[in-house]
Symmetry: D2
Subunit: 363 residues, 4 copies
Amino acid sequence: MSSLYGKKLKISIFGQSHSPAIGVNIDGLPAGYALDMDELRTFLMRRAPGQSELTTARVEDDMPDILSGLVNGVTCGAPLAAIIRNKDARSADYREVRDIPRPSHADYVAHVKYGGHQDVAGGGHFSGRLTAPLCVAGGICLQILHTLGVEIGAHILRIGNGAEDEAFDAVGVSTADFAVLRNHPLPVLRREAAEAMRLAILHAKESGDSVGGVVECAAIGLPAGLGDPMFDGIENRIAGIVFGIPAVKGVEFGSGFAGAECMGSQNNDSFYMNSGGIKTRTNHSGGILGGITNGMPVLFRAAFKPTPSIALAQESVSLSRGEDAVLQINGRHDPCVVPRAVPCVEAAAAIALYDAYLDAAGC
Amino acid sequence: MSSLYGKKLKISIFGQSHSPAIGVNIDGLPAGYALDMDELRTFLMRRAPGQSELTTARVEDDMPDILSGLVNGVTCGAPLAAIIRNKDARSADYREVRDIPRPSHADYVAHVKYGGHQDVAGGGHFSGRLTAPLCVAGGICLQILHTLGVEIGAHILRIGNGAEDEAFDAVGVSTADFAVLRNHPLPVLRREAAEAMRLAILHAKESGDSVGGVVECAAIGLPAGLGDPMFDGIENRIAGIVFGIPAVKGVEFGSGFAGAECMGSQNNDSFYMNSGGIKTRTNHSGGILGGITNGMPVLFRAAFKPTPSIALAQESVSLSRGEDAVLQINGRHDPCVVPRAVPCVEAAAAIALYDAYLDAAGC
Amino acid sequence: MSSLYGKKLKISIFGQSHSPAIGVNIDGLPAGYALDMDELRTFLMRRAPGQSELTTARVEDDMPDILSGLVNGVTCGAPLAAIIRNKDARSADYREVRDIPRPSHADYVAHVKYGGHQDVAGGGHFSGRLTAPLCVAGGICLQILHTLGVEIGAHILRIGNGAEDEAFDAVGVSTADFAVLRNHPLPVLRREAAEAMRLAILHAKESGDSVGGVVECAAIGLPAGLGDPMFDGIENRIAGIVFGIPAVKGVEFGSGFAGAECMGSQNNDSFYMNSGGIKTRTNHSGGILGGITNGMPVLFRAAFKPTPSIALAQESVSLSRGEDAVLQINGRHDPCVVPRAVPCVEAAAAIALYDAYLDAAGC
Amino acid sequence: MSSLYGKKLKISIFGQSHSPAIGVNIDGLPAGYALDMDELRTFLMRRAPGQSELTTARVEDDMPDILSGLVNGVTCGAPLAAIIRNKDARSADYREVRDIPRPSHADYVAHVKYGGHQDVAGGGHFSGRLTAPLCVAGGICLQILHTLGVEIGAHILRIGNGAEDEAFDAVGVSTADFAVLRNHPLPVLRREAAEAMRLAILHAKESGDSVGGVVECAAIGLPAGLGDPMFDGIENRIAGIVFGIPAVKGVEFGSGFAGAECMGSQNNDSFYMNSGGIKTRTNHSGGILGGITNGMPVLFRAAFKPTPSIALAQESVSLSRGEDAVLQINGRHDPCVVPRAVPCVEAAAAIALYDAYLDAAGC
C-alpha cells in the first residue's frame, strides 16, 4: 500500500513522472455536486510549472481528463477518476541516476525497496508531478467545501532564512485574505515579502542551488465537532496527507513548536460568548482540541526542505561499482518548490477536512 | 472511528480516565515472541505518575493484566489484549467541568461532538491516562524490535524557552546514548540540562502554571526499505500515531523546520561507501527519503504544548447559562507532561516502525 | 490482521477458549444510547451453553464486564470494551491435540501459521467461544437498531437432511415472528419442526457424531439506500462477518442458490406502489439490489457444517512423528452448534447492518 | 466507499457503463514482474461480449491501456492503473429507466441513494461492464500467482435447473482440468453438459427471458497458512470480492450448503501423510479451516441470479408519477451472464488469494 488516503473519501493516486499518464480515483464523493471545470483549471494552473522565472521550464498542460463519476458535469455517486497525460517526452536526463542516486532524493531507497525495478525517470512515482492528481482531488473538495461554507487558503510564510511573510491572524483570518493570495505567483499577505522571496529563489537558481521554506494554511467556516480522539484527530488526518507531499519534513498546528516554549497561562485559549456562539480569544490550538475542531480557524504550517535537485556537483555512490562517485544533475528543476506547493497544501487540507466532514456525519 | 492505529499491527485502545479499566487490543502480533514482563513493567514505570515532585500526585499501579494472546508468556498469534484497572477513585473534581469547559482541553469539543454524553471525569477518553495502554503496546513492540536489532530512544530536548539539551548525533546516535537516558526521571544527554529543566518545571508548578517542551526520538538499526511513497511513508505513519498523544502540536523529521531555512547544498545528505554499505555523511533527512527508510537513524521531534490544566483562574463560558464564566481547576495535574511523555513517544515510534516492518515483509 | 470488522463501527475481538478472558472493543458507537443490561444478558443467554440436553456441558457465565464507553449506563462516544472471564478451568483434554490435529478443525492450520506457538487449548482463538464477545457487540447493536425501527430475527431452517422449518415470509416477515422465535431453545416458525430437530441432534449425540444445519435471518425496517456498489455491498458486508462465525461454509441472500435455477421472469421482483411507498411483490432479491437495501426485508441464510468435534475415532496424523495416527476426542462438545448459532447470526447481521447504517449517513 | 478491495493489494475500480472510460488502479503490486500482455488479452477475451449467439451484441474492444506502474513491461512498485475506453456510443435506450426502474436491477436503489443524480445509462457503475477492470486486475494476479505455483480455474456447474456439469474433483483437480476449460465459450468439464447449457440459454433468449446458474472455482498450489481467523479468513476475503460481481447472490465453500445436511463423520476430512506432506482424504472443507488454507485445493461456488434484464413486459412504478407502470426493455443484454462470469470469478479469486498471499508474508 502507499498512495491511498481517506476514510470516507478514498483518494487513490497513480502514475510516474514519465508514465503514459498520471491520475487519481476518488471513491466516495456524494452525488449531486456540479463541478465547475473552469474553476478547477484555474486552481490547477496555480500548481502548473513553466509560468515564471522561478519554476522549472518543463511545460505541462496539467488539465485533467475526467473519465468517470460525472453525469452532465454533476457527480453521480460513482467513483470519479481523472487522468493527465504526460506529454513532455521522456529524456535521457535520468540515465545516470539509475546508477548514482541523487542525494536526498528517493532514488536510493526506491532501488532498495523495488530491487532495481523502480522507474528512475523523473523520480518515478516519487516525483512532485504526482501532486497534480492530488490537486485535482483537492480542487474538487475545495469546491464542495465552499458550498458548505468552508474556505481554505495558504500562503508562503518563509523562504530560506530571511524572507518572511506575516502569519495569518489566527482568530480573524478571512476569505478576503485568501482572495488576495490567489492572484500572485508568490502568494503572501505582505506584498514586500514577495520581493525578498523572489530574490532568495533567484539567488538559489543562479547559484545552481535550491532553497526551502514554510507554507501556512488556514481553513475557516468549519463546524465544531469534526475529527476524533487519538489516531483519527484532525492533526493526524492532516499530517497523514500533508507528509505525502514530497519535501515536507515538518507539520505543526496552531502555536506548534513555538507553543512548546510557552507557559500554559500564555498558550491556553480562553473561551467567551460571541453573538450566542462560543469562541476563543486566541487560537494557539489552531482550531483543534483533542483532535476535534472547535469552530475556530484550523491553522497549520508545513516545512519544505530545499529541493534536493541542485546543479552543483555532489558526492554520491555508484550502485554498480560499489564505490564513491560524483554526481552532476542536468535536468530541469525548480530552485524552490514552495510557491507551487501552496495549492498542494490547500488541496491536501481540503481532502483531509472534507473526508473528516463526511466521516463525522451521523456520529 | 478514532482509537485504532496500524496496517498489519492493529492497535485498538479503550478506556476513560475514570472508567473501570483502560486497555488495548493488539491484533497482528506474530507468534513465538517470549515477552519479558519485568522489562515491560520497567518500561511502564517510566510513564507512571507519582514518582517525583515533578508529576501529578495521582498514584496509579499501571501494571497491565494480559487477558489473551499469550501461551506460557509467548505470543500465540491471537490478539493480545491487556487492561489496567483504574483504582484511584472517582472524585468530584470534575463536576464543574461539565458546565464550564477548561480552556484548551477537549471538554468543549467533546460536549459538541457527543451531545453532552461525554465522560467529563478526568477528561474521559481524551485523558493522558490513555497513553498507558499505548505504552503497553509500544513496550511489547520495543521488545520485538530489539530482537530484530532495532533500538529506540528519546530524550527531552527542551522545556519551555530556556532549558535545552543537546540534540542526538544524527549520524552517530547509539544504544549507549539510550542506556544513559533510561536511568533518569528527566532523560537528557547533557546532565546539566536536567537541572535547568527541573527548575523550569518547579517554577511552573509553584506559579500554578504549566510549561511545554519538545521530545526528540531516534530509532537505530532499521533496514533501508521500510515505508511507502505518498501517504504511507514513515513520516505519515509516525505522525499518524504521535499526534495521538495528547498535547502534541507539531512533528518534524530530520532537520525539519530548521532545514526549511537552508539551501539544498547545505541540507542534502551525501552518500558514501562505508564498509561495503551505503551511508550518508549527514542525516538532515532523519533517515527517511520519499517516505522510506534509508538505513540511517530515523530522527524526529514532537512539540508538546504546556498542559492546559493550570491552577490559575481562567476565562471560560458556562454551557448551561450561555454566558462568560471564570474557571478555577483544583485537580491533581502535571505541571509539565513532557518527562512522562518521553516513553510515550518511544512507544508510539515503536508501534509505527514495527507495523511498517511487518508491512514491508514480502513486498 | 484478523479479528477486526467494520468501517464506521470497529469491532475488535480478542481472547482464546482458555485465556484469562475473552472480549471485544467497539470503537465508533455514537454517544447517547442507554444500554439495557438486562436485555443484553437475556440475549447472551440464548447463546450460552449448558442450558439443555442439546448443548455442551461446559458451564459458563457469559455475562460481560463493561470496562469503558459508558457513563451511567449511557454510551459516551468513547470505545466500549467488554470482557468475559474464562472461569471453567483449563483441562488436560487438549494435550493430545497439539500433536494430532483434529480433522476439519483449525488445529493443523494454526500449527502451520503460528509455527507451533498457537494456543491449542479448546481451539484457542478459533473456538466458538469467541462468538460470545461477538454477541456482546451484536446485542448492543440490536438495541440501537431497535430505536431506529430496525428488528432482526433468525431461526433454524434445517438440521441435517430431514428436519426442516418453513422459511420466513420474504415480504411479510414481522416482529411477531421474531417474538415467537426468541422463546424457544430450538427457534423455529413451525413448532413441529423443533421436535424433528431435537431428535436429529440427540441422534447425533448418542452416536458420538454431530450434525450441521442452516440458519435463516431477516432484518426488517431498514431504509432503502444502505450499502454501496461492488465491494461494500450489504451482501459483502454481511458475508464478511458471518463467515467469521466458526463452521459457516455458505451464505446466500434472497433466493440464493435456488434463484440461480430460475428464469429472470420468475426471479425478478416487480415494483408496485403501496400507500405511497415503493415495494416489491416478491423478494427474491433478499432486500438487496446492487449491494444496496431496497426497503424490503433483508434475508439471508448461513450454512453451518456439522461441528468437527465428534467422539468417534478419526484418522489423522502425528505432527511430531510424521505418520498417520488415530484420534479419539474426549472433550465436551455440542453435537450441533446450530441452535446456539442463531443469536450469533443475529448479532453478526446487527453489527453489519448498523455499521452500514452509520456508513450511509451523510452520503 | 464502495469499489475498493484488498489489504495489501488495493484494487480501486472506477467507471460507468457509458462514461468515457472504465478502469482500475492496483496499489501494492510487488516490483519485478514482467507482464505478458498477450496472455492478459487472451484472458480478457474470455469475458468480452459479442463473441457468440449466447451473449449481448454490444461490441467492445476491452483491451486495456496501461497508464502507469510498468517500466518496459515490468512492474516497478508504483500503482498500476489501466483504463478501457467506452467506444460503443451512448444510446437512448435508457431514457425510460430514469423514471421506471427495472425490476431487480439497481436503478431504484441508486435513485434513492444518489438522489436522482445516478448515471442511469447502462446501469452506470452497477453495470456488469465494470467486471472488465476487475478482470484486468485479476488477470495480472493470475500471472503472478502462476509464477508462485498457484493456478486458478472455473467452470459452469449449472445453468438453470437442468443443465449440469460434474463438479471438480475436490482433492484431485489439476491444471489439466483448467486447460480444457479455457478453450470453450461454455467452459465445462463434461462436454455434453455444454450442449444442454447452450440450449437452456438459447431458450431463454428466444423467450425474451433470462436464466441463472452456478460457477464453481478451484485454486491449486496454495501453501497452507494463508488467511486469518474470524473476519479475515479466506472465506470472508473471497466472499468479500465475489459478491462484488453483479448478480452473485450466494457463495459456498467446499461442501457448503450440502455439507450442512451431513453428519460430522461424513463431512470431516481425515488427515494422512502423503510423501512426507500432510493431506486430507476428502476436501469437504474446500481447502479452508478456521479461515486458513490447509494446502488442499480451495473450492467455492457462486450462485448467479438470472440477469434481471429481460425483454418481457414487467410491472414497475413511475418514480415521477408515483404510480404503477409497465416496463418494456429494448436494450442489448445477455440472456445469461454465467458464461462470461466464469473468468470474472477466476479474477476475483486471484485477487483475493494473491492479496492473502502478500498479507501472510512475514507473519
